[in-house]
Amino acid sequence: MASPKDNIKYLSTPAIATNQKKYCRFKKLGITYIDYKDPEFLLKFVNEQGKILPRRITGNSLKFQRRVAQAVKRARHLAILPFVTDLLK
């Protein structure tokens, strides 16, 4: 039995099907230290509510995701980043 997905004919292959291979930006660029005092950089790893983005979204490796999380938590302690907010970006 053909699954319902099969009989949907796309004119052109939709972009969602082929997702781009995620890479760890820290390994690629050779960044070794994540500065917790630099909010602009940390904002890339935080969503609109100020929550830390999961690894499957940011594509970070486990080692650097932990460092990012620690840096964000330190920045939150020093009130550089908010704990929770709306429309942060």
Partner: protein, 126 residues
Amino acid sequence: MQHQYETTFVITPILSEEETKKIVKGYVDFLAKNNVKVLNDEHWGLKQLAYPIEKKTTGIYHHIEFIADTDLIDKLELMYRRDEDNILRFLTIRLDKHAAQYNDKKRQGLAGRNKKVVNQIKEESN
């Protein structure tokens, strides 16, 4: 055993200019007294806090990087806790080699937010 540390603290904004200077000088002198090599002493000044601390929405940040013995840190943090009405928040961190490298590069202007292109630094130096 000497390690590299960096400490940041937030002073209440309601104090006058010279009072904040006096507080900051108190900590820098305390560090200078017991053979601490202060690498970097930045005064970020009045900044907006991301969330109100003790009903205040702004704070005066000060940041010190230094090399010190391990037992000095407890004394420093005790001073922070005693100075409760002036210091809103503090954070002291021991730096590993990657962090120390990053801070050194940042001081020379090679890393971090306002990093200069290398030839720019040469123009300034000569």
